[in-house]
Each structure stands twice: as structure tokens, then as C-alpha cells.
């Protein structure tokens, strides 16, 4: 579009914005590596305080002892505040050096070239330590934008007391999504308490499709294809369950956080979640925790588990990229990943750490059981987050379609057709 301001005014405006943007970025060389003191790198994590304060501090202490020229400043950020804080820091010229992100945020920031390309920054032998499928989940247009840290495949936590009350056998929890739905309906019918809260909020139905073996994109990834009869039938199935009050009305609004809260209150029979959330149940309601048993997450027809991945990314605006990449590789090395996995039920992204016998040894607590169960799921798991351009625009359309269908504003088929049209116009 031809600019409509006079040339002088445009130039002045451009100068003002550029000046403002430049003002926000301190000139290079303000704090060069190798200057008088040690280099300080800033390390951001998501919600690791207070449970893992000692672990992270220990990690940093050991690194600083081994690298006297580097100091690490650790900042723990709440997940809700992360995006905003990160963008503000980058815009303000005080970007952190190493940031813990999830796949979705990594890909979104990679889209605007905000992150360092790890395929280029990390030497091939170091890259080879990680599971190739997990490393690949952080790729956009052929480049990886994060070093994988830990992964958290879902498990099924269920309340044995509610199972018994509903006439279900706690020794035989559901193993497929169909069986999960049947069990949930039985629990609701017999006890009046909800059986489950499916992960269908926001854009999670994109993962539901994949878990049920239904593709979201065409093989060349240039067209959306989630409007087939099978897709429509699957969406209609969940809408029918919702209309018959088989899961709570805040499922679409509150997602897994609402589910965890409800499960911890003893008001939900089954919770499909990352094993680390059992910690919250343990602290919120020891009685429910005591009645909790853990099994493999029910499998859909796609025979695939989603594998939410946490990674360490280095913002392109970091002034100490080499030190930051080195620290990210240290945090995610075999030894440190294994040590972290012994703190909580999470799983390593490196092959050697994952081969440790720790992941096959059982125990008596729900977490011990979850560890063994989830470790067995790893070979069928992959991160189902989509790497697509204009993801926010597309996700907004998808969310609108799914919610319109659930709340009766559109028929399921009509909603999916509409969303596919929107996607194909933008892909």
C-alpha cells in the first residue's frame, strides 16, 4: 500500500519509532564478554520455585565453580507472565540469555526470528545426545530453536474410591479413549460426580484429532484437512457428551488447571495429566492423593501420546549467546537431567539419561508408579504441537470454531468447514 503521509512526515515518524526502538537497545559493547568482571547470564525458568529452589541453585553453583568467568542470575517466572515479561525484556534491551519455554511459545517466537538457531549453535555431537524426535519438535522451517530439556507424557490418575462407588474395578482402568469415556459416563451416572474433563479447551482439539489418528494438515502441510466426516463425528461426540453434562461446564474455559483443581477436591474421578501435577494433588488434598492410582494415559485410535516438551531457548537479543548456549547444554546434559528427574516425575530428552534403570524401577507412591508408566509411553510419544505460520491467527479461528460448535452457535460440520476455509486462506 502506498504510504499516505507526506514524505517528510513519514520520515519523521520513521525516525521517531526507530529512535525509540534503538533507545530501548543498549549499544553493542556496553557489557562485552570478557570485560573486567565475569560475564553474567540471566536464566529464566517457569514455576520452579519453591519446589525446586535447592535443585536449581545447586545446578548453578556447580556451573559457576566450573566456569569462574560466568555468573548465572536465576529468575523464576510464572507461566501466565512469561510471554509478556519476555517481550518487554527483549524490547527493553535487557533480554534474558537462557529461557525455559514450551514448544508452542518457542515456535511462535521462532516465527519472528527472536531465538537463536540451535541447529547452527550446537555442535553435531552434542545434538546427537538428544532424542531426534524431541529435538525435531522444536524445528520451524528446518531449524531448531531450543535445546530440549524435559518431557512430560500424560498419565491417567484416577480416584479408586470413586471407581469403587461407580462399580468400576480400580485394578482395570480404561486403556483407550473409548473406554475412558464409558468409565466417565458410568461414574457420573452412579455417583453424580464428573468422571473426566477432556482436554478440549482452546486449541487442544487439534491434539485430540491427532491422538485419534486424524490429520490436521495435508502431507505437504499447505492445506488444513480437519473437516472430514471422521473429524466432524469426533467433535460431535464430545459435544454430545458436553450437552448431556458428562463433563463440567468450565472444561472449555479452564482446561487442565481446572481439571487438576477439581480432581484435588475429590470432584473428578479421572485426570489425564502430566505426572508432575500429582505434586499439587498431594499438597492440596492428601486424602484424594492416598486414593489415587496411576495408569497409562488412554490411547486413541492414532496410538500416539502427546509429549509436551520444555526446552531452553536463547533469545537472539542475548548479548552472551555463546555462554548461554553452553549453559543450556550443561543444564540439559545427561547427569543434570537425570538429577532433575529424580526430583519430580518428568523425563529426560537425552537418550543416555532415559536409559537409566531409575525409569524402570517401581515404587509404592502414585509418583513412582507414574514414572514407570510414563517411561513406557515414551516410544509412542511425540510432541503434537503444530509448527505452522501465523499460528496465532489460525489458532484464534480454530478456537472460535470449536467453541461455536460446543455452545451451539454452529453445527460441528459447519464449524470445522469454516475453520478449514479460514486456515487455507492464510496457510
Amino acid at each position: 500500500m502506498r504510504p499516505s503521509l507526506p514524505r517528510a512526515a513519514s520520515a519523521a515518524a520513521a525516525a521517531l519509532v526507530l529512535a525509540a526502538a534503538l533507545l530501548a537497545v543498549p549499544p553493542a559493547g556496553v557489557a562485552p564478554a570478557g570485560a573486567a568482571g565475569p560475564t553474567t547470564i540471566e536464566f529464566w525458568t517457569i514455576s520452579l520455585e519453591p519446589f525446586f529452589t535447592t535443585f536449581v541453585n545447586g545446578l548453578i553453583d556447580r556451573y559457576q565453580r566450573a566456569h569462574p568467568d560466568v555468573r548465572v542470575r536465576w529468575i523464576d517466572v510464572q507461566p501466565q507472565a512469561l510471554d509478556q515479561k519476555l517481550l518487554s525484556s527483549i524490547a527493553g534491551g535487557v533480554a534474558p540469555d537462557v529461557v525455559n519455554l514450551n514448544t508452542e511459545t518457542t515456535l511462535r517466537l521462532a516465527e519472528v526470528h527472536a531465538l537463536v538457531d540451535m541447529d547452527r549453535a550446537v555442535p553435531a555431537p552434542a545434538r546427537a545426545r538428544y532424542f531426534p524426535n524431541i529435538w525435531a519438535s522444536l524445528r520451524l522451517d528446518g531449524h531448531a530453536y531450543g535445546v530440549p530439556w524435559y518431557v512430560t507424557p500424560d498419565v491417567l490418575a484416577y480416584n479408586q474410591a470413586l471407581f469403587r462407588k461407580a462399580g468400576l474395578d480400580p485394578a482395570h482402568p480404561p486403556v483407550t479413549t473409548e473406554a475412558l469415556i464409558r468409565a466417565a459416563v458410568a461414574v457420573k451416572q452412579k455417583t453424580g460426580i464428573y468422571g473426566f474433563m477432556p482436554n478440549v479447551d482452546g486449541i487442544r482439539f487439534l491434539k485430540v484429532f491427532q491422538e485419534e489418528g486424524l490429520p490436521v494438515l495435508s502431507p505437504d502441510r499447505r492445506r488444513a484437512v480437519f473437516d472430514s466426516a471422521a473429524h466432524v463425528a469426533l467433535l460431535a461426540r464430545y459435544i454430545d457428551l458436553y450437552k448431556h453434562d458428562q463433563f463440567p461446564d468450565d472444561t472449555l474455559r479452564r482446561g487442565y488447571l481446572g481439571a487438576t483443581e477439581r480432581y484435588g477436591d475429590g470432584q473428578l474421578a479421572m485426570l489425564t495429566t502430566g505426572p508432575q501435577f500429582l505434586l499439587r494433588v498431594r499438597s492440596d488434598n492428601p486424602d484424594v492423593y492416598r486414593d489415587t492410582a496411576v495408569a497409562a494415559a488412554p490411547l486413541g485410535r492414532g496410538q500416539v501420546y502427546d509429549l509436551p516438551t520444555m526446552d531452553l531457548a536463547v533469545p537472539a537479543a542475548s548479548r552472551h549467546q555463546a555462554e548461554a548456549v553452553a549453559f543450556a547444554l550443561y543444564v540439559t546434559d545427561d547427569e543434570n537431567q537425570l538429577a532433575f528427574c529424580k526430583q519430580v516425575v518428568i523425563f529426560p530428552s537425552t537418550r543416555q539419561a532415559a536409559a537409566d534403570s531409575y525409569f524402570t524401577r517401581g515404587g509404592t507412591s502414585p509418583e513412582d508408579r507414574a514414572r514407570v508408566v510414563a517411561a513406557r509411553e515414551l516410544d509412542r510419544a511425540r510432541d503434537l504441537t503444530l509448527a505452522i505460520p501465523h499460528s496465532d491467527d489460525l489458532y484464534r479461528d480454530f478456537r472460535e470454531a470449536i467453541e461455536s460448535a460446543f455452545y451451539g452457535r454452529m453445527a460441528p460440520g459447519q464449524a470445522l468447514e469454516w475453520a478449514v476455509r479460514q486456515w487455507n486462506a492464510k496457510l
Binding site: A21, I90, H113, D249, Y407
Partner: protein, 311 residues
């Protein structure tokens, strides 16, 4: 001479007094007193306003340098469905303003009475104002829950026969959030109106009573007209707050369901921090600022007469 100057207004009076001697010193001192506030305003208000306005003409995502795109982002807004959804929701949200102001006036008139324990009530009504919006949001989320207190009471009273999905019903969610804005704001506006009522000399009311005016006539013919400056102030603040509503929505609904609580400010936030379209978000901000200015101007126009100049 001084009297004449006063009649011409404070600025003229100041000039007249200044001519008497020490004019420059007095002006300098005045500016020095203003300087800290002006500096803060310059850094945290004027600069962002200018920067945001200019930014609306640029495509900017924080990471790459800004690219001048002229008014194309405003043109894009015109055909952006979500913008119109947000605008419509913000317009509906404005309905909270008259309800809030009317109830705050009624409340102020009530707590102004010299009743036993009324100070406790005044404090109680003000508690929501000073309570963190996150706490308020969480509390109301529980109250609005399908099995929450509100539904429990309504069901027990037989007002409804099935729980109301306050925050999950696209036709209801926006009004439910507006209810929270009303609950949180009423104490704040009550204080403004209490101050306004205290400023009205009691002899106006007494004179009207002596002339035989009843309670309603005194309220509508004496008190309300004299309260107009406070109404102007409170309703302007309330309009600004309603157009900028964000926290309640962020905590309680996240803009859903089906974008039924997606307001202008929320859309601006979404575009800036989720989609990284900061220039586009700035364009939304400029439109929002224009709408706000328009509403404020209309409000000033409608409410400018009144107060003690009424008589």
C-alpha cells in the same frame, strides 16, 4: 485591582499579582513544584502516547525493526471480524456505567445518614475497591461456578430450576463480568459521591423543605443538580475504566466463550503479546483512545451545567 483580577479568573489574578514583583521567581517556583509530576507524566504517559500513536503506522513485532505501513493497519481493522466483535463487546460493557453511577449515588445517599454502625458499612463497601483484582476474579469465579454459592442460593429459592452457566454461556458471560466490575467499583464511586454530597451546603435542602418540597422533589430538584460535577467526574472515570476493562476478563474468562467477552483492550493485549503484532495493537489503541475521547467529550457536554452554578 485585586478584586478585578480575581473576577477574570486565577490566571489573570496570578499575572496581576506577579506584576507586583518577583514574577519570574514565582513562575519558576511553580514550575519546579510541577516538575516531578511533569517528568513522571512525560516518561510514563506522554512518551507512550506519542510512541504508541506513531507505532500504529508501523509493522512492529519487537524483534525486527519497525516497517512503515502508513494507515494500512487502520484499514485492516475495518475488515477485521475480531475488532468488530471487541468493539461491540466494549460498547455493551459501557452499559455498566449508568447502572454503577446510579447505584453508587443511592448508596452514598444511604451511608450518609447518621445511623448507628454506618461507618462500618462505608468501610465494607470500600473493601472490594482495595482488593486485588486477581483475588476478586478468583472469588467470583467460585461464586459463579455451576455448583457455586450464587447458583445454590438461586436454586434453593426456586428462582431457577437448573444451575446457570454464568461464565460459560456466551449470552451471559459478558454481563456476569460486568457484574463484577459493578461490585468492585461501587465503593469507589460511592466515596466520590459522598464527598460531593458533603460539599453541598445544607441550606439549599433546608430552603427547599421550607418551601414545601417533598423528599423526592428535593432529591431530583436540589441534590442531583448540585451533585452534577461529581457525576461528571465519576461517570467520566467510569467510562474510561469500562473501555479499558481487562483484568476481570483475563482472570475470569480469557475472552471466551466464543469471544463473547473479548473487549477492545483485551484484543489489543492479545495482538501485542500473543500475536506479536505490536503495531496493529497500537492501531487498536489509537481507535480506543479516539472512542474514549469522544465519549468523554459527550459526557462533558451533557454534564457541564450543574453544581453550585445551577442556581
Amino acid at each position: 485591582m485585586e478584586r478585578q483580577a480575581l473576577n477574570r479568573g486565577p490566571a489573570a489574578a496570578s499575572r496581576t499579582v506577579a506584576r507586583g514583583g518577583g514574577a519570574a521567581a514565582r513562575t519558576t517556583i511553580a514550575y519546579l513544584f510541577l516538575a516531578p509530576a511533569l517528568l513522571l507524566l512525560a516518561v510514563f504517559t506522554f512518551y507512550p502516547v506519542v510512541f504508541g500513536t506513531v507505532l500504529s503506522l508501523f509493522d512492529y513485532n519487537v524483534i525486527s525493526p519497525p516497517r512503515y505501513v502508513g494507515f494500512s493497519q487502520f484499514a485492516a481493522l475495518w475488515s477485521d471480524r475480531y475488532f468488530w466483535t471487541a468493539l461491540r463487546n466494549s460498547a455493551v460493557y459501557l452499559a455498566v456505567v449508568p447502572v454503577l453511577q446510579l447505584s453508587a449515588i443511592v448508596l452514598a445517599l444511604w451511608v450518609r445518614q447518621p445511623l448507628r454502625g454506618i461507618a462500618w458499612f462505608r468501610a465494607a463497601y470500600y473493601i472490594p475497591v482495595v482488593t486485588s483484582i486477581v483475588v476478586v476474579g478468583l472469588m467470583w469465579r467460585w461464586l459463579y461456578d455451576e455448583a457455586g454459592l450464587l447458583n445454590y442460593v438461586l436454586l434453593r429459592l426456586g428462582v431457577v430450576h437448573a444451575p446457570i452457566h454464568w461464565l460459560s454461556d456466551p449470552n451471559l458471560a459478558l454481563y456476569a463480568v460486568m457484574g463484577v466490575t459493578w461490585w468492585k467499583g461501587i465503593g469507589y464511586y460511592m466515596v466520590i459521591y459522598l464527598a460531593g454530597l458533603e460539599a453541598i451546603p445544607s441550606y439549599y435542602d433546608e430552603a427547599a423543605a421550607l418551601d414545601g418540597a417533598g423528599a423526592w422533589a428535593r432529591l431530583f430538584r436540589v441534590t442531583i443538580p448540585l451533585l452534577r460535577p461529581s457525576i461528571l467526574l465519576a461517570s467520566t472515570i467510569s467510562i474510561l475504566a469500562a473501555l479499558r476493562v481487562f483484568e476481570e476478563i483475563y482472570v475470569m474468562t480469557g475472552g471466551g466463550p466464543i469471544f463473547s467477552t473479548y473487549t477492545m483492550f483485551y484484543y489489543m493485549f492479545d495482538q501485542a503479546f500473543n500475536s506479536l503484532h505490536l503495531g496493529y495493537a497500537a492501531a487498536i489503541g489509537v481507535v480506543l483512545a479516539a472512542i474514549t475521547a469522544l465519549f468523554s467529550a459527550v459526557n462533558f457536554r451533557l454534564m457541564r451545567t450543574g453544581g453550585l452554578s445551577y442556581y
